[in-house]
Amino acid sequence: MGSGRWSTDVYDAADRLRRSTGTSAFAYSDSGARAVHDALNPMNVTTRESCDSDEHPQSVAIAVLFDVTGSMRNVPRILQSKLPGLLGLLLRKGYVTDPHIMFGAIGDATCDNVPLQVGQFESDNRMDDDLGRIVLEGGGGGQQTESYELAMYFMARHTSIDCFNVRGRRGYLFIIGDEMCYPRVKRAEVAAVIGDDIGEDIPTKAIVAELKRRYDIYYILPSAASNAGDQGILDHWRDLLGQNVIELDDLDAVCETIALTVGLGEEAIGLADGLDDLADMGSGAGDSVGKALARIGAVSRGAVVHGPRIGGSTAVDDVDRLDKAVAGPDGNDGVIRL
């Protein structure tokens, strides 16, 4: 069809696109790489730093680590396609002035070649490069356990974030996955993957407690993932993180969910404001995000080290308005009317 230089018919184009599939978002992984990329290797890393600078005086560290086992394979691909939107949403709506975003991937240290991959905190789309270097291993799984505790150990002991160091505001750690932690951070695994000698194993609850001093930790369970709805997994994470466990029914809404969670945590918005922002931007994710964050929006962020908190009444009002909006007579068409 068509007569321009590159014109082609619809079947030919479909063939070309099909043949090219799978070499883009994770070029490094899709090229057959099965070892961690140098840029993401946690071995012998002193610290991953999120530093204030003249350009970014109010840095806020936001780390997003996801499980890369088979059942979760789509999550990183969707994250990659949504990322520029996440940064833009945070910036445009003023939720955070200087977000520093880090990506990483979690595997299973008992059986994977690449149990932990961690990028740098970045303030522009260099973070996309890190995402492109992640190896999607597809091992793990099966026993409903992944080495999340090893990743949390790294975040606790090998990151330095100025939002906390300078301003006493915690950073954000989002873990996206569908399995449970191992009960202990194992000395041998830390030595093999990160290169530290920790003397003895550390209970996972202890490392979570240590990490919580500097980060608000959220666990996102996409309900499209294989173990979604498994009560045991939800209970496991609620036991570790309290209300910061987010069940998300639409994987496409993952970046909006992260953005609004940060917006709520930074007290830049109430939940209803955030959902308004999404509707403004033409995002259809409002319903899913609203459902996923109803608990967080209602309770607001846990104890912030310094500074005021969202007034409880405001947050409750937001949820009331949201309930009316979602259940309203206009029907569930993806547009939130408040």
Binding site: S3, G4, W6, S7, A13, R18, P84, L89, D124, G132
Partner: protein
């Protein structure tokens, strides 16, 4: 430098060499991304690699071979089918994964096979009164989106098969209602191909531009030429696109950019036009003597025509662009040693009663085409009539034609192109050895 981002536009009717200039810009400094801000798959920006291999950029930015990313802004018309073929050719040239460096705004319009079929049928029915269309459906896509803003398929729809299906059915039916049954593929096949496209490219919101602009120096690559602009061109011989710097400036402003970009206009040492419409300095001898490597006679677009350097028209292009910062002058090698190339700084027009033989009245010179009120197509059409009736006042070209062109347009010349490759680009005033 007035700013770190650069906007590149063609000051003529297209084909001046934006591709080669953008490629050179991206190869000579660290350019993060090339941002397209007008037109669509009909663009043909040619870049020649040092080893002689060549690519015609249509939807990928002309900085691709120099390693720059591409962003297709919301002002673009995106043809995923044509894009897939262009991507494959880029891969053949050694770009490991052309899609990985591409972001597309979800609000950009989709050019579909239905638009293309309607476009070609409409041109066929115009017969000799053809507008010089490329036959790909770009004009139809714009027209349909204006008539049916809510039904026009957009890039974001490719990821939503149900929405896309509904829109494509409506479009197919609208085309069939106007033209009867044309040879078009079934909607299901289009939905499938577009879904594969959505899987393959990174579709972003407008906010992504803010991130892109913050990440490094960007080049805004214009398509076609300012003299084809939908509002400022010689109506109706225009394109459905704003070809001035306006869209680029809008994108920069929307993204909160504070610094003004450097606005660079590209001209050849002679003036050309591909297809129908005014070309005051047209010279049949030059057309015969200077065939274009990349521009034959297109089945839909018509002949490639050559004229002397038309400073009157190019000055008008600078003026309607709101002023520029610099020029890039291409095809200096072609002009070198030709004694038949002249320059035109004024037209001759006949005023008063022409008399029965058409030769009466007086003549006067016309050196500035006056811009009319913005979006006044009646004014533009009258302008077309005046320009078509004008004859060029030709003067001998200076030995250093690129410098003379800078003087005629009142702008500094950033770069002179002495051949198709990056290595053929030089600072003004320096003729490279071996030319």
């Amino acid at each position: 430098m007035t700013g770190r981002h650069t906007v590149v536009v063609d000051l003529g009717y297209g084909d001046a060499g934006k591709g080669t200039v953008v490629d050179w810009l991206c190869a000579s400094r660290p350019v993060h991304a090339v941002i397209r801000f007008n037109g669509g798959p009909q663009a043909a920006h040619n870049v020649v690699l040092p080893d002689g291999r060549h690519h015609t950029f249509a939807q990928f930015g002309s900085g691709t071979l120099a390693g720059a990313r591409t962003h297709l802004s919301r002002f673009m018309l995106v043809d995923p089918l044509a894009l897939s073929r262009e991507a494959d050719h880029l891969r053949d040239l050694g770009v490991a994964d052309p899609y990985s460096g591409l972001t597309v705004d979800r609000d950009a319009l989709l050019v579909t096979p239905y638009h293309g079929a309607a476009n070609r049928e409409r041109e066929r029915r115009r017969g000799d009164a053809r507008h010089g269309s490329c036959g790909m459906g770009v004009g139809e896509t714009m027209a349909y989106s204006i008539g049916h803003p809510d039904l026009a398929p957009r890039v974001g729809d490719t990821a939503s098969p149900y929405v896309l299906r509904r829109k494509l059915v409506a479009l197919r039916d609208a085309v069939a209602a106007e033209f009867g049954e044309l040879d078009v593929p079934p909607v299901a096949a289009c939905v499938e191909a577009f879904r594969l496209f959505a899987d393959r490219v990174v579709i972003v919101d407008g906010d992504a531009l803010r991130v892109l602009l913050a990440a490094g120096e960007c080049v805004f690559e214009g398509a076609q030429g300012v003299l084809l602009d939908e509002w400022r061109g010689f109506h109706p011989y225009t394109t459905w696109s704003t070809t001035t710097v306006d869209n680029a400036m809008t994108l920069l402003a929307d993204a909160g950019a504070v610094e003004l970009p450097r606005r660079v206009g590209v001209v050849r040492t002679y003036t050309t036009r591909h297809g129908a419409g005014p070309l005051v300095t047209e010279d049949a001898t030059l057309t015969a003597a200077l065939p274009d490597t990349h521009n034959g006679t297109g089945a839909w677009q018509g002949r490639f025509r050559v004229g002397h350097f038309d400073a009157v028209a190019h000055r008008y292009a600078v003026e309607v662009s709101g002023g520029l910062d610099a020029l890039a002058v291409t095809h200096a090698d072609v002009a070198l040693g030709r004694d038949d190339l002249r320059v035109c700084e004024a037209y001759r027009v006949r005023v008063g009663d022409p008399g029965s033989d058409g030769a009466g009245g007086r003549t006067r010179t016309w050196s500035r085409i006056e811009p009319g009120p913005f979006t006044d197509l009646g004014y533009q059409e009258a302008l077309t009539g005046r320009v078509e009736a004008a004859t060029p006042l030709l003067a001998p070209a200076s030995a250093d034609l690129p410098a003379a062109i800078g003087d005629m347009l009142g702008l500094p010349v950033d770069v002179v192109s002495w051949g198709p490759g990056r290595a053929d680009k030089h600072a003004p005033g320096r003729m490279p050895a071996g030319v």
